[in-house]
């Protein structure tokens, strides 16, 4: 087990090194440097800039140093915990990303807090009696909500809840401080989009467990049906969805760009988009490292959790 985790972490470092190197290489081209200058100084200013002044600007930003030196310096800085400065926002990357991560973390927490109980309950209810009316209704709802793209869900919910009923604000930028009301729409959009997927996985897993021979044994042992479900079916049925739920963590970190941008929510995904458009190398680099870290971490959690839930693997 420890060996597995260790191997995963090694893999993670390797992925980080490779990805950051490639990104650095891409952003080192003249074209990208120009783009940063354009973004910062404006297109007109750059076109009138003399070659000498441009070089000066590069020197000021530390972009004139040869590529490998910059990369080594950056790696060493990262190891010391310094992620550099954002070109666009002129703050330290670490504090910028930290702030955004907390925002996305709050979002993800509420999405999970609502989505997991909802999708597991519905999945189990549907899978308990495969083919029943209850199953078909729930399965239809699950397919329906998952099939609508996030952006459409976001628009529909905004139109109904914010513009129509006026219960909630349309945007979630939280300009005048933290406001829980502004969190509702992004969370709701993500839950509606995501719960169907997890519910369907849970349903499939539950339905399979219900046809297994050990459930037959449990029923024919004469124990109450409630206990058959709660004690015998549930645990085995939840092994497969657990893995999927943990992997949603990864999706919530960087896959929610659409929702964050739509609601102007200052989260990690939105930051990523802004940085990419601006060519903000150090922000992108740091964000990438974090994304890789979370991806590997969720893999490890799902592996460890899977072993924990499944004694057949735990003891072999």
């Amino acid at each position: 087990m420890l060996k597995l985790i260790f191997r995963r972490l090694l893999q993670m470092l390797l992925i980080m090194a490779v990805v950051s190197f490639i990104l650095f290489l891409v952003f080192d081209s003249d074209k990208f440097k120009k783009q940063i200058a354009t973004a910062e100084l404006g297109g007109f200013a750059v076109s009138t800039l003399s070659e000498e002044d441009y070089q000066k600007w590069l020197a000021k930003k530390g972009l004139d140093v040869p590529f490998h030196e910059r990369y080594v310096k950056w790696v060493l800085d990262v190891l010391r915990g310094d992620f550099g400065q954002s070109f666009e926002k002129n703050t330290s990357v670490a504090s910028l990303i930290g702030e955004r991560l907390i925002n996305t973390g709050i979002l993800a927490f509420w999405v999970f807090a609502l989505m997991i109980p909802l999708s597991l309950t519905l999945g189990v209810l549907a899978g308990m009696k495969e083919g029943s009316f209850q199953d078909r209704t729930l399965s239809f709802i699950a397919v329906f909500t998952t099939s609508i793209p996030e952006i459409a869900t976001a628009i529909i919910l905004t139109v109904i809840l914010a513009l129509g009923l006026g219960w909630l604000p349309t945007k979630s930028a939280m300009i005048s401080g933290w406001d829980w009301k502004q969190l509702v729409l992004p969370v709701l959009t993500l839950v509606v989009y995501d719960f169907g997927y997890v519910a369907r996985m849970t349903r499939a897993s539950m339905a399979e467990v219900m046809t297994s021979q050990y459930i037959r044994t449990a029923v024919l042992k004469g124990i109450p049906y409630r206990r058959v479900i709660m004690k015998h079916a549930l645990r085995n049925a939840l092994i497969a969805p657990f893995t999927i739920i943990v992997l949603q963590l990864n999706w919530l970190l960087s896959g929610v760009v659409v929702v964050e941008v739509f609601f102007e929510y200052n989260g990690f995904g939105k930051l990523l988009l802004e940085a990419a458009l601006f060519g903000d190398v150090y922000v992108i680099q740091a964000a990438t490292l974090i994304a890789v870290f979370v991806a590997v971490l969720s893999q490890i959690i799902s592996d460890v959790g899977y072993t924990f839930l499944n004694p057949r693997i735990r003891f072999s």
Binding site: T217, A218, V219, G222, P224, R227, K231
Partner: protein
Amino acid sequence: MSEQVPVLECRNLSVSYFVRAGEIPAVVDFTMKLMPGEAQGIVGESGCGKSTVALAIMNYMGRNGAIVGGQILFEGRDMRTMSDEELRQIRGSKIAMVYQEPMASLNPSMKIGDQLAEVPLFHEGVSEDEAKRRAREMLSNVRLPDPGRIMESYPHQISGGQQQRVVIAMALLSNPKLLLLDEPTTALDVTVEAGIVELIKEISSEFGTSMIYISHNLGLILETCDRITVMYSGEAVEVGDIHTVFNNMRHPYTRGLFNSIPVPGADKNARPLVAIRGQLPLPHERPKGCYFGPRCDYFEAGRCDAGHLPMEEVAPGSNHFVRCVRFAEIDWEALKPKPKEQEPIEPGDVVLRVENLTKHYEVEHTGLLFVSEKRTVKANEKISFRAREAETVAIVGESGCGKSTFAKVLMGLEEASAGRVQLGNLELSKLPVEARDGATISRLQMVFQNPFDTLNPSHTVGAQIARVIKKFGIEKDPERIRERVYELLDTVKLPRDFADRKPRQLSGGQKQRVGIARAFAGDPKMVIADEPVSALDVSVQAAVTGLLMDIQRENRTTLLFISHDLSVVRYLSDRIVVMYLGQIMEKGLTEEIFSPPYHPYTEALLSAVPIADTRVEKRKVVLTGELPSPTDPPKGCPFSTRCPYVIEGLCETTPPPVRSFSDSHTIACHLEEARLTAMEPVIKIDDDPAQAAE
């Protein structure tokens, strides 16, 4: 006690499954009466509805099954009128069930102790501690060593035999009135099976539990039951006391069944098995009248196909019933089977030489962090034997004995670690199959165990056979290939239009015939048959073994027959190699293996095999203990951990010497020659000296 209420009575029970195509009757007009303390056997081939009967009694029919007629009376009350709650209270407490696959029947993520404790917890409302105490006590009642450890284990941590004992313990925990056993030993090895059967017999005498024992194995039913019901295609066709039915069967199907199983008297040359022709009709294709009619030798148009047949008592008061309109007029004595006798085949020169063949696997066992220890699995250890042309050599052993590994080495799927394998003049031990030329491959072919998985489902039967012919370069011209495919189908006795069928349209026996046709397409010198009939029903088994024998006779093929089934092996092989944990324990001519001196393991194996013949008397040798892990075999004799004759201090430490008893017969054992020679025969046949002399 003359007016006892039957524990269970099924009256004209009918069960159907409802599928998209409509109603499929699985059990029709089934009647049975089970008295207290009685053990009833239900036998029949797959699809005859015997498991459906058990599940109907439990009232657990799944979503698409339903009882459509008749009554099931449990202690006089109709179970069909009971509420769900009443049923729940009976299930597991008054009626308990033991299942075919113990591993699948236990919850993989719950400790065994908790699974057992549920029974008294929910049926008797005892405290958790009391429930655990009873569970532990019951585990020791089913002769499980170290119940405390097993209580804390998960199902996958114990062996298959132990799992089945746990399931039996679970069934007995509430002291049920009725125990349903659905093929309880089919998934287990024979020596383990013998232990379970012994346990079941002890239970029935100790607790007085009534039992319904469902099996396809007539021998097992004979060992365990008082009465027997023979089922065919959803109907009971013959019911009676076990000895009456075994000795004086009155239904042609029962007769056919008995003629197709290899009992000790059968012999491939003098008394070959007689298979039942045709095949089981599908439920929606059952004929009018007698369902067995189209396969019956005594079929009489106008009477047998007139309408639904009732059960009739053979003689008033005999308690022997049969569903046949002609049973009274058939001369059962005169019509003993008349198989065609055949000349024994003369074996030719030695074709296969195996010398000191050894196959070890390195298994990496990963511990914490980087500590990984390498373990060696000794799958085959110094195996030596020879096989001659046109001879059948059987390799016998239980699971894990290394017989399949040996086949893999021979086929070139694995390389030998040491030793030599010579086919003719060709050394095969280090020659993987990719390095073999077409001619070598076609000379050495294999028939696989599971005909259901070995045919490609998306190609026609003809195309699959044709591909082999093309690959081996036997024929090039498409016309000739087609011709050769037809010839092969003729050889395996399949209609020629089967060439255009897909595997899913074939029955198990037919698929295995295709497998055989494919193996024989390249006119092989030698065919390895790895458990070729163990997945098939008995009546089909006889036909397939018969077919193999016929083709062998014609082509003078050497047959290497790998099996765990000593009855089949005895019937068709000339010589036998007995393996245990990768080593040869005993080898010799068939009659040498089946008569003393025995290796203690052979003795236990012979004793374990159930024989469906009332004249046979067996000496009981029941092994205790579990098969050791192949990664950690005993240092000395591999069998020493379970051997009833073990010599303390010698057998565990020193490998046994190989003792020769004739040119062909050797035994690897520490026991003195005199002691081995003095062993009593395991199988005795009572009243027929001519056959006992075999």
